[in-house]
């Protein structure tokens, strides 16, 4: 690698790595912070709609969109893992590659965990009526 990518491309790559590591965590946090108060507060107010949208659909969206973000994060983490695997098998001890590889492994498993949580919550939306006490 003689020239290497420019600074903007490097920045994009660095941020992409962090999306792969933490994307699922952030998506899950957003899912929880939207789905839970939406359900609890709407029910407490005695309603079953949020504006014009039925409550179950709103909660369902708060499950599906973060779920898709997590899937994207999982794919990015897998990509980093495969790219760094190729780089480190080509030899040349470079601790930046080893560090990114470790973060990618953490990212892959973390995203699987967060995807599981989001999917389990999504199943519950299918099972329970939103305001059953």
């Amino acid at each position: 690698m003689t020239t290497g990518p420019g600074p903007h491309t490097r920045l994009a790559g660095g941020l992409l790595l962090w999306y792969g590591v933490l994307g699922g965590a952030v998506a899950w946090a957003a899912h929880l912070l939207v789905a839970w108060p939406l359900d609890e507060l709407t029910c407490a107010a005695g309603r079953e709609r949020v504006a014009a949208v039925p409550l179950w659909l709103a909660v369902w969206l708060a499950v599906v969109i973060p779920g898709l973000v997590t899937v994207g994060s999982l794919l990015v983490a897998t990509l980093v893992w495969r790219r760094t695997a190729r780089a480190s098998s080509a030899g040349a001890e470079d601790r930046a590659v080893d560090r990114s590889r470790m973060l990618a492994v953490v990212g892959v498993w973390a995203n699987l965990l967060f995807l599981t949580i989001i999917v389990l919550g999504g199943v519950a939306v299918l099972v329970f009526p939103p305001c059953q006490g």
Partner: protein, 209 residues
């Protein structure tokens, strides 16, 4: 690297993906960012409590015959506080190039705007206290706690700004190689401004939705 495919390929190459980011930040910057993060969580808890109590309370909000908050003064406060970040940015850019005059002028301008905000807050309190106090009901408790706590943060931020101004007037404090304190105080001040926007939305605009 002009076509989009090339950009994506480069950004997902090993060299880009192993770029160190974040990198090269001083300890003071990290300390201030983490402090702001914990403070922001504190405000998130307070604003979350506002919505929780509001929605648990029932359809009528504010309760007990209190009018919906008037918008004139808070919008004036916003117009004073949010632009007050600009002189700080201008001053910080100035001192990075070693311009002490810009640092002093920028800090002084922010100080004036911040004091203006606190004066308007006093007017707002004087107006509201005629109708309800902190002990009237939970709405009053939330209103005064959240705005008062933010006002306290503005006061702390202004103390920092005034302290920086005093240090820069003394001379021998800041220059193009030494401006970490200016940067850290600026981060805090931007945070105080940003929180105000969230408070404006929560306390003043959300009851009208």
């Amino acid at each position: 690297m002009t076509d989009r495919g090339g950009v994506v390929a480069a950004a997902t190459g090993v060299a880009a993906l192993t770029t160190e980011e974040p990198v090269g930040r001083p300890t003071g910057w990290w300390g201030m960012v983490l402090f702001v993060a914990t403070e922001a969580t504190l405000f998130a808890c307070l604003l979350g409590s506002y919505f929780y109590l509001r929605f648990q309370f029932g359809p009528q909000w504010p309760p007990g015959g209190v009018d919906k908050p008037k918008l004139l003064i808070p919008l004036l406060m916003t117009a004073v506080l949010v632009p007050s970040s600009l002189p700080v940015i201008w001053a910080e850019h100035g001192i990075r190039r070693g311009r002490r005059g810009r640092l002093r002028a920028g800090l002084a301008a922010t100080l004036v705007l911040g004091l203006g905000f606190l004066a308007l807050l006093a007017v707002e309190y004087a107006e509201n206290l005629k109708h309800f106090t902190m002990t009237t009901d939970v709405y009053g408790s939330l209103f005064y706690l959240i705005t008062g706590f933010h006002g306290l943060h503005v006061l702390v931020g202004l103390t920092m700004i005034g302290w920086l101004l005093a240090a820069s007037l003394r001379g021998g404090s800041f220059g193009s190689h030494r401006h970490e304190r200016v940067r850290n105080a600026a981060i805090y001040w931007h945070f105080v401004d940003t929180v105000w926007v969230a408070i404006l939305f929560t306390i003043y605009l959300s009851p009208r939705l």
